[in-house]
């Protein structure tokens, strides 16, 4: 019996920069976020969009670009941040650029909303720049504190559009290349024609194909992809 090749389970590191973000139809939002890193004085941008539209990628790119300009930026992922918000958010107004991700995670939680409201007031008083991201439009997220939602829209709200089908092959190829594998054009076409077309699913499919290809020592072809993805391997 042939021994099964066991691929090493490791996450592939990828720097999130503006350079490796597929802008697609989001050029205006990306431009505003870049200016946020470069400009001086109070500025604020809110981006929202469905899952896998690159919200966290963009906010982290803001932090990196801010650092490249010799300033301090901080990324605040509300969904995964440990500890109480008031403690974790304290003093952040002393950082030049504050990027708060997963704003929807705070909606409906009065204490979290108040901590964020207080942070925004402190940050504006100090001329900090702020970027926010959420899955929903800030005017429609179920915030208890109306003062908070009104402050979130002050600098401009941008909806991030998902990548178009024309942009997806290139994005998937880059994703595959960063994993060290090659996905042929016909396999990408097959994925786009026969499977859900959101980037989350597609990126996950590439990962599964890569994993199965290493395990089975086979090239990634359309029949192989059909078998792997149908079997949930």
């Amino acid at each position: 019996m042939k021994a099964e090749q066991l691929p090493i389970q490791m996450s592939v590191g990828r720097d999130r920069t503006f350079g490796n973000f597929h802008t697609g139809d989001n050029a205006a939002a990306v431009d505003r976020l870049k200016r946020l890193c470069d400009a001086a004085g109070a500025e604020q941008v809110f981006v929202w969009g469905q899952a896998f539209t690159g919200k966290s990628h963009l906010l982290q790119a803001v932090c990196r670009r801010t650092a490249q300009r010799g300033r301090r930026g901080v990324f605040v992922p509300l969904k995964t941040l440990p500890g109480e918000d008031a403690g974790v958010l304290a003093g952040l107004e002393n950082v030049e650029v504050i990027c708060v991700d997963d704003m929807d995670a705070a909606a409906g939680d009065a204490a979290r909303e108040e901590a964020l409201f207080d942070l925004i007031n402190r940050a504006r008083a100090r001329n900090c720049r702020m970027a926010f991201a959420a899955r929903g439009n800030p005017t429609r997220l179920p915030f208890v504190l109306k003062d908070l939602s009104s402050r979130l829209v002050w600098g401009g709200v941008y909806r991030l559009a998902p990548l178009s089908d024309a942009d997806k092959p290139q994005a998937l190829k880059l994703h595959a290349r960063e994993r060290g594998c090659t996905v042929p054009d016909d396999v990408i076409r097959y994925l786009l024609h026969h499977h859900p077309r959101n980037m989350g699913y597609l990126a996950d499919a590439v990962q599964r194909l890569d994993h199965a290809s290493l395990r089975d020592q086979r090239r990634i072809t359309v029949p192989f992809a059909r078998a792997v993805l149908a079997g949930g391997a």
Binding site: Q60, L81, N94, N121, R140, S150, V157, H194
Partner: protein, 442 residues
């Protein structure tokens, strides 16, 4: 590259990127010859660094400079609101203004009466504000504005403060939010400096407190504010406050405070009408040095009605997009820039919705979309609906085919290609596609 920047570069290869952006990049590094002092914005960040990567940091730095001492600390966790900590310690009780050192008023110099746009909705509030600014503590005391969010309460309060400072330079004026009052009090309690805190607040000539609704359920802060209020009122200092609703309706606020808040004038600010919204937009555009055509200001004002912050956000977006694309600001441009803001964009488009909209548009019955009929009057609308379903949803092509009467995914591919070609060849089809996209996107 500084030592700390070199260290961050190495940490980037050791830690997940998110950790670097969340914790490492927020540290302030102060380098001296033999010491690198890392100042975290708060105690939580300091503890995270201590537990998760102080070892890495020390090791990396020791390889670069073995005599370097690395110190980790948390910086000040709250920004002093008015420089009052030092001032308060020097201060004596009493309100003799000439004897008191000046304080930082925390007023926004841009928010003045000149930049406040007056309209029917805020005329009374504006008049009261101007009267109080001209004669502090002699007309309405306290003066309280209440309204929904983003309607200009804070602007009016700053305008009063700025005007008083302009005409009475020596008066001790302080603007702050109620949360800042609470935070200052908590800090004073923690440091055992309540005497200084009390003396400082009770020595003001004009106290402007924003958002008093946040005193709700904070008993000790209410107690302290009650005494501050009484002292200031008795010494004829001016008190100006804002609230997001009529103060008597704030739950969790002591009755004695509610009653005192009503001693002077309580004035509502109503949402601005269309003309005021247009004037606000024109004023803000002028401030930014941008020429905003009247019809564009009208378009934005007609569509953004909720509050002034949202209005300003919309304007900023139009201006930023115009600058980015080097396009002139026209009504078409504004409509395009704000399309998703104005639309009910949280709505998720379904294939059924697309079918119904396309059927209505082409005046055919919705069930024709799923029928086997193949005559020309039905086929083109059906192909258009399939193309829109592909472009505007994330459904797979087999799912789209299935929703159109169980058709094969190759039929969907054919329909999409056909519509794509027709849009290039035929302006009528292109217009139909644009119309339907606009309708579906709201």
């Amino acid at each position: 590259m500084s030592l700390w920047q070199q260290c961050i570069t190495e940490l980037e290869s050791l830690l997940p990127e998110e950790d670097v952006n969340t914790w490492i990049r927020s540290l302030e590094a102060v380098e001296t010859e033999h010491c690198l002092r890392l100042v975290a914005p708060n105690a939580s960040t300091r503890e995270w660094i201590r537990k998760n990567c102080l070892g890495h940091i020390s090791r990396i730095l020791s390889l670069k400079q073995d005599t370097l001492d690395v110190q980790l600390e948390a910086g000040p966790q709250e920004t002093p609101s008015a420089g009052q900590e030092t001032a308060a310690e020097q201060r004596h009780t009493g309100l003799a203004q000439a004897a008191e050192p000046r304080i930082e008023s925390c007023l926004n110099p841009e928010q003045t009466f000149d930049t406040f746009i007056e309209g029917k909705s805020n005329r009374l509030a504006c008049a009261a504000a101007q009267q109080v600014a001209a004669n502090p503590s002699k007309s309405f005391n306290p003066l309280l504005f209440y309204s929904g969010v983003g309607l200009g309460k804070t602007h009016l309060v700053h305008a009063i403060g700025n005007e008083i400072k302009r005409t009475n330079e020596n008066l001790r004026v302080l603007y702050l939010t109620s949360e800042r009052f609470v935070a200052d009090m908590v800090r004073a309690l923690r440091k055992g400096k309540m005497d200084s805190f009390t003396r400082f607040y009770r020595s003001l000539n004009v106290l402007l407190v924003d958002d008093i609704q946040f005193f709700a359920d904070k008993e000790q802060s209410q107690e302290e504010f009650f005494h501050t209020f009484n002292t200031l009122f008795q010494s004829q200092s001016q008190i100006i406050m804002t609230c997001d609703c009529y103060p008597a309706e704030v739950e969790g606020l002591q009755e004695r405070l509610k009653s005192r808040f009503g001693w002077g004038l309580t004035q509502a600010i109503e949402p601005p009408g269309l003309e005021t919204r247009v004037a606000i937009l024109q004023s803000k555009a002028r401030h930014d040095g941008v020429a905003l055509p009247d019809e564009v200001a009208n378009y934005i004002a007609e569509n953004i009605r909720s509050n002034i912050r949202e209005l300003e956000g919309a304007l900023r977006r139009v201006i930023a997009n115009a600058s980015f694309t080097s396009n002139p600001i026209t009504i078409e441009f504004a409509r395009d820039a704000l399309r998703d803001l104005i639309a009910t964009h949280n709505r998720i488009l379904t294939i059924e919705k697309i079918q119904k909209t396309a059927a209505d548009y082409y005046s055919i019955r919705p069930n024709e979309m799923v029928s086997p009929r193949r005559n020309r009057t039905v086929v083109r609308p059906r192909q258009m609906a399939m193309a829109l379903a592909k472009d505007l949803t994330n459904h797979s092509l087999p799912e789209i085919g299935e929703a159109f009467g169980g058709r094969d995914h190759t039929t969907v591919i054919h329909a999409c290609r056909k519509i794509k070609d027709l849009r290039q060849e035929n302006t009528q089809v292109e217009q139909e596609y644009k119309d339907l996209t606009r309708i579906l996107n709201g």
